[in-house]
């Protein structure tokens, strides 16, 4: 992913082509009104630049995007940029929390599975991982809601905070309140990701466990736990970091479903609403933002990789 500029251009071209593929001429709605003559419509088309060639339209669209102008929502009439700004933080917080949880759980489970290869625990973890990989996020979310929110009543079913929270509630109470609302969405979102990371960590660790430097460390008489933490994990981590960026698309996709079920007004819920209402400017704006986020994450992963592996140097000849 080092060559990101062509990809960046590719992303904008792809988004633009999808927008131009949107059915319906924006001026068709007026064509049936008698007040508008054909001549007026022709002039309006020219003024809006609808007669220009596709590349010209693309460049105009790109320059308005670069100025932060994503157009207006066909449904709310608010600017798409404002709609996205309002929902951006919610999705980013949810996915980052899920990423943290799934990283911790996935690596933990994977390492234990590898160290205890072919034990009962390993088989149990393997089975659960496969279950997590095959379980659609929405079914898991509905199961969690049915058990922990509806039957046991431990956690709230949906929303982001208690609407009836007294105004004099302290900051701590507010934090605790919204944390309770985050538990189920974060579990539902992180489970499939944790499952795939566990599989990946297990195979990376098995790879590392077979290396000769492990035998050397043991021959020196080092403790097994020391070898694990100082010699094996750092090497396995290198392989694991490379997949962090690969895991984000799944998390973003999962956030669409999880936000819908738990009624979190983030970009995922917004994209479903926009898709249902055929609100093209909004859905394309969100798609573009998601793609840019992923690109940024890839870039960050490349940087992390260089930090963790001193052998990696970008753009150095020789």
């Amino acid at each position: 992913m080092a060559v990101s500029i062509p990809v960046l251009i590719g992303i904008t071209i792809g988004t633009f082509l999808l927008i131009s593929a949107a059915p319906g001429d924006p001026l068709l709605a007026y064509a049936s009104l008698d007040d508008f003559s054909d001549a007026q419509i022709t002039r309006a088309r020219a003024e809006l630049g609808l007669d220009d060639s596709l590349p010209e339209q693309y460049l105009r669209w790109l320059s308005s995007i670069l100025q932060g102008n994503f157009g207006r929502s066909l449904v709310t009439q608010r600017s798409v940029a404002a709609e996205i700004a309002a929902s951006f933080g919610i999705t980013v917080r949810l996915t980052l929390l899920a990423l943290l949880v799934s990283t911790a759980v996935g690596i933990g489970v994977g390492v234990i599975s590898a160290v205890r290869q072919y034990s009962l625990l390993d088989y149990a973890f393997t089975f659960i991982s496969f279950l997590g990989l095959s379980m659609p996020g929405f079914f898991l979310a509905l199961l969690l809601v049915a058990v922990f929110a509806l039957s046991l009543g431990w956690l709230p079913t949906s929303g982001m905070f208690t609407l009836t929270l007294p105004a004099e509630a302290s900051a701590w109470e507010r934090f605790w309140d919204s944390a309770r609302y985050l538990v189920l969405p974060v579990i539902a979102l992180s489970a499939p990701d944790a499952a795939s990371l566990a599989r990946y960590t297990r195979s990376s660790m098995l790879d590392v466990l077979g290396q000769t430097y492990r035998a050397t460390a043991r021959a020196k008489g080092l403790r097994e736990s020391y070898i694990l933490w100082r010699h094996l994990l750092p090497n396995a981590m290198l392989q694991i970091i490379t997949v962090i960026a690969l895991r984000l698309p799944g998390l973003f996709g999962g956030s669409v479903v999880v936000e819908t079920i738990f009624n979190f007004p983030g970009m995922g819920l917004l994209s479903v609403r926009a898709a249902t209402d055929k609100d093209y400017p909004t859905i394309m704006g969100i798609t573009l933002i998601f793609a840019l986020l992923l690109l940024a994450a890839n870039f960050a992963a490349d940087m992390l990789y260089a930090i963790f592996d001193p052998r990696v140097q970008y753009d150095q000849p020789g």
Binding site: M1, V3, P6, V7, G10, I11, G14, L18, A21, A22, P23, Y123, F130, L131, L133, S134, M135, P136, G137, F138, F139, L142, L143, V145, A146, L150, S151, T157, L248, P249, G250, F252, G253, G254, V256, V257, T260, I261, G268, S271, V272, A274, A275, T276, K278, D279, Y280, I283, M284, I286, T287, F290, A291, L294, L295, N298
Partner: protein
């Protein structure tokens, strides 16, 4: 262990496939036939898995839903891996600017979160079964393209390729008669895993209300079950379709994993 799980997966899949093919015989009602006097009924001897608010038979919908899920899953999986294999073969064998351009295209498609770009495309083009199949394939072929390209890159420098070139074989012949057969086994694995992924994406779409509205579907059955009353008191409306999706994708994943172990000469067990 792996072997046994793959066998169990294969048996489940064969059962589901037969059920989907013989839906008219196995389902006890039409999927859109409303049973009067049997609304919101728990499972009984007539309606094995009960009925919903409209009196639709859950068991019959489950069977017809298998038909839709498997049709979408299998055609999409084959199409996506087919496209990916073709791109990967050409890209890996040709190299140069063709390879560069195709791989940037792959990078670009991967840069979009799958579900989000599929949602956007469905919103633009409409949610017919054909559109769903085409859109998911056009978004998910990238993985197998990379896989095949990587294999071709190493295969093309093998002696048997040089030998056939020395004998005057055309590029076309080398690529499709000599190199392609060597990537078939990994494609088989890619297809099963791709089918599992496609079944999940279709389920997600119909759960979000963006599937084909004219077809019975597992995801849509769960979409209808989002109310708290149904979640708490009418398990037969949402647990069976949920389990069906899990079982279907789990089986494809098990079979794919088993195939990988069986076909990979470098895996020691």
């Amino acid at each position: 262990m792996r072997h046994r799980l793959a066998m169990i997966g294969a048996i489940i899949l064969i059962t589901m496939l037969s059920a989907a093919l013989l839906a008219e015989q196995i389902a006890r009602f039409d999927y859109d036939e409303r049973a009067r006097g049997y609304r919101d009924s728990p499972p009984n001897s007539v309606h094995w898995l009960g009925t919903d608010r409209l009196g639709l038979d859950v068991w019959s919908n489950l069977i017809y839903g298998a038909r839709v899920s498997l049709t979408v899953g299998i055609t999409t999986g084959l199409l996506a891996v087919g496209i990916g294999a073709l791109v990967g073969l050409v890209s890996g064998y040709t190299g140069g600017w063709v390879d560069g351009a195709l791989m940037r295209l792959v990078d670009t498609i991967i840069a979009f979160p799958t579900l989000v770009i599929v949602l956007a495309a469905i919103a633009l083009l409409g949610a017919s079964l054909i559109n769903i199949i085409l859109i998911i394939s056009l978004v998910t072929w990238t993985g197998s393209a990379r896989l095949v390209r990587a294999q071709v890159l190493s295969l093309r420098s093998w002696d048997f390729v040089t030998a056939s070139r020395a004998l005057g074989a055309s590029d076309w012949r080398i690529l499709f008669r000599h190199i392609a057969p060597n990537v078939v086994s990994s494609l088989l694995v890619a297809v099963t895993l791709s089918i599992a992924g496609s079944v999940l994406i279709e389920a997600n779409l119909s759960f979000l209300g963006l599937g084909d509205p004219t077809q019975p579907s597992w995801g849509r059955m769960l979409n209808a079950a989002q109310s708290h009353t149904i979640l708490r008191t009418r398990w037969w409306l949402w647990i069976p379709p949920g389990l069906a999706i899990v079982l279907c994708t789990l089986s494809f994943n098990f079979v794919g994993d088993g195939l990988r172990d069986a076909l990979d000469p470098f895996t020691t067990r």
